[in-house]
């Protein structure tokens, strides 16, 4: 296998990390909706945590995406 195709496969594999980010972000917002639906008064208290969770979950997936970009465009 030559280097170019190995890079493509590697970048594709690195993008699998985004599965976790998708699951995580979905989980955060589904929990937000569930909790606000049960107790609408709690929205202002819960929302900042939801966005904090969104940012943290998204970051983990972006580690993988950043690696994919580095493989494709730097090395």
């Amino acid at each position: 296998m030559d280097l170019a195709s190995a890079k493509m496969i590697g970048a594709g594999l690195a993008c699998i990390a985004l599965v976790g980010a998708g699951v995580g972000i979905g989980n955060v917002f589904s929990s937000l909706i569930a909790s606000v639906a049960r107790n609408p008064a709690s929205q202002s208290q819960v929302q900042p945590f939801a966005f904090l969770g969104f940012a943290l979950a998204e970051a983990t997936g972006l580690f993988g995406l950043a690696i994919a970009f580095l493989i494709l465009f730097v090395f």
């Binding site: 966005f51 904090l52 940012a55 998204e58 970051a59 972006l62 995406l65 950043a66 970009f69 465009f73």
Partner: protein, 241 residues
């Protein structure tokens, strides 16, 4: 046409300078940092110079940002964290403005370089550790010992707690850096698609507009996350567990 999405992160010298074999040239990164610092200073200092009881538009923006940070420190870092509000505010404003200025086309994203984010993160880490040691002395080590855990489990838990403590500057730095790098690279890639497909460019441009909105959200959110995690680490150092 070849797409070069990482071209936007290249650093080039504006004023070449070298002292004692060390390259301290004034680069585009340094230029953007100067602009960011000037902008933050202008917003905060100039708007509150002729401060009035009923704030004008610019003054109320500055006040809102400051109150937001004070509120964040109060709720997350707990009692006795008020002296550190200026530090967290400076950190938050610098990262927020660096992220937002980076989104302006043909400018430069300072926070997309790991050396910048790591420098910020290591300052937070060392500062918080010093605060904890000065405040609690040897008791600070209790941070690594969870309460109410059987002694047999401590053998396992203490190394994990220590690892999760010392990994903090790295996760803090990489989170901000990876978000900025991935976001801007993605914008450039879809921009490259738009240039390549001619008449069908409407599709990638549409995606790019949506991505840009997401990037603005991410720019604000990452500054918020950096500041709030600083508050949480400060809370650990001030109050242990």
């Amino acid at each position: 046409m070849e797409i070069k999405p990482l071209e936007q992160f290249e650093i080039h010298r504006i004023i070449p300078l070298e002292i004692g074999g060390v390259d301290i040239s004034y680069t585009n990164s340094a230029l953007l940092m100067t602009i960011v610092v000037l902008a933050v200073t202008a917003l905060v200092v100039l708007s509150t110079r002729g401060a009035s009881l009923v704030p004008g538009r610019v003054q109320s923006v500055a006040e809102m940002l400051y109150e937001f940070v004070v509120d964040m420190v109060d709720t997350n870092a707990g009692h006795g964290a008020r002296p550190y509000v200026p530090f967290v505010f400076t950190l938050f404003m610098f990262i927020l403005f660096a992220n937002l200025f980076g989104l302006i086309p043909w400018s430069f994203t300072v926070t997309s370089h790991i050396i910048v984010t790591f420098a910020l993160a290591i300052v937070v880490f060392i500062g918080v550790t010093i605060i904890g040691i000065v405040k609690h002395g040897a008791h600070f080590l209790r941070l690594f010992v969870p309460e109410g855990v059987p002694a047999a489990l401590l053998v396992l838990l203490v190394p994990i707690e220590m690892l999760s403590y010392f990994i903090r500057p790295f996760t803090l730095a990489i989170r901000l850096f990876a978000n900025m790098l991935a976001g801007h690279t993605m914008l450039a890639i879809f921009g490259g698609f738009a240039a390549a497909v001619g008449l069908f460019a409407i599709l990638p441009v549409g995606i790019n507009i949506a991505l840009f909105a997401l990037e603005i959200l991410v720019a604000v959110l990452q500054a918020y996350v950096f500041a709030i995690l600083t508050c949480l680490y400060l809370n650990d150092a001030l109050h242990l567990h």
